[in-house]
């Protein structure tokens, strides 16, 4: 019984983290129709920016509560700046081309980012774990969980609910939905589509970077951390349906629970159980579970 319990809690925690990272990917796809392979690199960028900012702060004995804000701040600055450069500098030039071409362009950006990060931060790992251990543990039944994981669950909830209400209730959000629905008509109606593109891409980059920055205290930040997360978040958003926020939440929960069950009951299967679920979902629902219906345009 307690094992099922542990699977549930582990799964939800992992799902929250996945959702946070995958949110930006699905948002960018929803608006720009670009599947960003460099998303994982932005995640890694956030992690590096985070440790760079809080490393000295923690070393000088700064307030640890402030360090959480610093992590998010680092992610916003780094993710926003690089996101802006990527969209305005590169992606903009390829709009209107085939989706596969844009996929290849983001793959090229991924390659560039991987080495750019190595050039700036070197190849040695960084570890700043104080913000993680500082919050202590929480006993749930006879199991003990780090409170930091609950913080991530909270941030994921805030990000998800915040983004959903932004899209539903604000004027800009409604305009953005119009752009998602039909960018040509939106432009004809006087919406500055290119501005929405830039801001959305930056927001997606910032979300990825926040995911990375908040992960940074729990791991040792080293080259290659963006390589695996790319595939994982793809699985999440593809299961839920590309461009769908509830879909990303569902995909994250499904992947989180599947992975947690695999870890507890079938450890060898941890890595590929996720992709088997993805392949199964796509075999039944080719566009993912929450994918909007689309009329075929000839």
């Amino acid at each position: 019984m307690s094992q099922i319990y542990a699977v549930l809690v582990d799964g939800v925690m992992y799902a929250a983290w996945l959702f946070l990272v995958a949110l930006g990917l699905t948002l960018v796809y929803g608006v720009l129709k670009i599947l960003n392979m460099a998303h994982g690199s932005l995640y890694a960028l956030g992690a590096y920016a985070g440790v760079t900012l809080i490393g000295p702060w923690v070393a000088r004995g700064g307030n640890l509560y402030v360090s959480y804000l610093l992590l998010v701040l680092a992610a916003i600055v780094a993710g926003g700046a690089i996101g802006f450069i990527m969209e305005r500098g590169v992606l903009k030039r390829f709009y209107g081309q085939d989706p596969v071409v844009l996929l290849l362009v983001t793959y090229a950006l991924f390659l560039i980012m991987e080495d750019a990060i190595k050039l700036v931060w070197g190849v040695d790992p960084y570890t700043v774990s104080e913000p993680y251990s500082f919050l202590g543990n929480f006993d749930l039944g006879d199991l003990s969980y780090p409170n930091y994981n609950f913080l991530i669950v909270g941030v994921a909830l805030v990000a998800g609910i915040g983004l959903t209400s932004f899209l539903k209730f604000t004027r800009s959000g409604r305009l953005l939905r119009a752009v998602i629905h039909d960018r040509e008509v939106s432009q004809a109606m006087g919406i500055r589509v290119s501005r929405y593109f830039v801001v959305t891409f930056m927001a997606g980059a910032v979300l990825a970077a926040i995911g990375g920055a908040l992960t940074a205290p729990t791991v040792s930040v080293a080259p290659g951390m963006g390589v695996e997360i790319v595939v994982l978040t793809f699985a999440v958003v593809v299961i839920g349906g590309l461009g769908s926020l509830p879909g990303a939440a569902f995909g994250a929960l499904l992947v989180g629970l599947v992975r947690a069950s695999a870890v507890h009951y079938w450890p060898q299967g941890e890595l590929f159980s996720i992709y088997i679920v993805m392949a199964l979902v796509l075999a039944v629902r080719p566009k993912g579970i929450f994918a909007p219906m689309e009329a075929r345009k000839i």
């Binding site: 081309q97 989706p99 596969v100 996929l103 390659l111 390589v227």
Partner: protein, 335 residues
């Protein structure tokens, strides 16, 4: 028949391939220190050749590493568990197993296009990576060592190493290029670019786009399996990284860099990549991927047909892209 041969001889691709293979053969024989590099490039070129067939059908597979690894593991498992060392037996096993796997997966994949095809192929190769990584019987994370293949009677086997091994890859590449060149001129081969242009029209012509994509995928899978087997011989070792998605990314890079105009094209890209990598390892190990990424961006932006489209008069499709489908999407020009 003779007119067909004449038209082959007039085709610029034939001359490119002949000159290319003469240069490759000469380099491999005259410069022993380059032999390994050229062998590796040839086996990757064979994989990229299959991928190029998919690309000219408008499909980018980010999962060719799956068949690359399956081909290599057929060699590794065949040698370590079944004592199979005969060259042709190993190569045939690799190709057949890869082709059968592609045939089975194709029933699922042939329904997908664009990004979904790319992502699903990627996921399938990651499943394979996970399987290989976590199963000790399959070598686990260490993989297997692979010995030199043998040729001839089991009483007096002839070990293929060095120049002989290079010759195997060289001949295999020539055979593959000739076969693919013939395929590209056949009816199903010509349907590929047509599907890329407009799938619905192809269906109206009375043929099945899905069946053609399925066939192309099987061919690409078999070629990747062969490339993987050859790579196993070249390196002498196999490990799960052969199935990791960044390996697939490298094949995509080669195919995009080379273009899909000729059957020989992917070998140019593969050679350039390996030469550049050899130099980068020496002079700039941490900026290698930056260079790769920048080249890829430049190719997509300025030479969308790849290097072998140089000198080709560019017909200007409205906002389209020769690498993939050329259906113009006016709504996409918003920015």
């Amino acid at each position: 028949m003779s007119s067909a041969i004449c038209s082959h001889l007039r085709a610029p691709g034939t001359w490119l391939a002949v000159i290319g293979f003469v240069v490759i053969g000469a380099a491999g024989l005259a410069l022993p220190q380059w032999q390994f590099l050229v062998s590796v490039a040839l086996s990757k070129g064979i994989v990229a050749l299959g991928l190029a067939l998919l690309l000219r059908t408008g499909l980018a597979s980010f999962g060719q590493a799956l068949f690359f690894a399956v081909g290599a593991y057929c060699v590794g498992l065949g040698m370590n568990y079944y004592g199979l060392t005969e060259l042709f037996a190993l190569l045939a096993t690799s190709m057949i197993v890869s082709a059968v796997l592609a045939l089975v997966l194709g029933f699922l994949l042939a329904r997908y296009r664009d990004i979904f095809f790319a992502m699903l192929t990627l996921a399938l190769s990651m499943i394979c990576y996970g399987l290989l990584l976590n199963n000790v019987e399959l070598g686990g994370s260490d993989g297997f060592n692979v010995n030199a293949p043998t040729l001839g009677s089991s009483a007096q086997p002839w070990q293929l190493t060095g120049t002989n091994l290079f010759a195997v890859g060289f001949i295999a590449s020539i055979v593959c290029v000739m076969a693919v060149a013939l395929y590209m001129r056949s009816t199903p081969g010509r349907l590929g670019p047509a599907i890329k242009d407009n799938e619905i029209r192809v269906e109206y012509l009375g043929t099945s786009a899905r069946a053609n994509i399925h066939l192309t995928y099987v061919i690409a899978g078999a070629l990747a399996g062969l490339g993987g087997a050859l790579q196993a011989f070249n390196i002498g070792h196999i490990d799960p990284d052969m199935a990791f998605w960044t390996t697939s990314g490298e094949f995509v890079f080669i195919a995009v860099l080379s273009g899909t105009r000729f059957a020989f094209s992917p070998f140019i890209g593969a050679l350039l990549l390996e030469v550049a990598r050899a130099m980068a390892y020496r002079y700039a190990p941490n900026t290698w991927q930056i260079v790769m990424g920048a080249i890829m961006l430049a190719i997509i932006a300025f030479l969308p047909g790849g290097l072998t489209s140089l000198g080709l008069v560019r017909r200007k499709p409205a906002g389209g892209h020769p690498v993939t489908r050329t259906t113009a999407t006016a709504s996409g020009d918003a920015a």
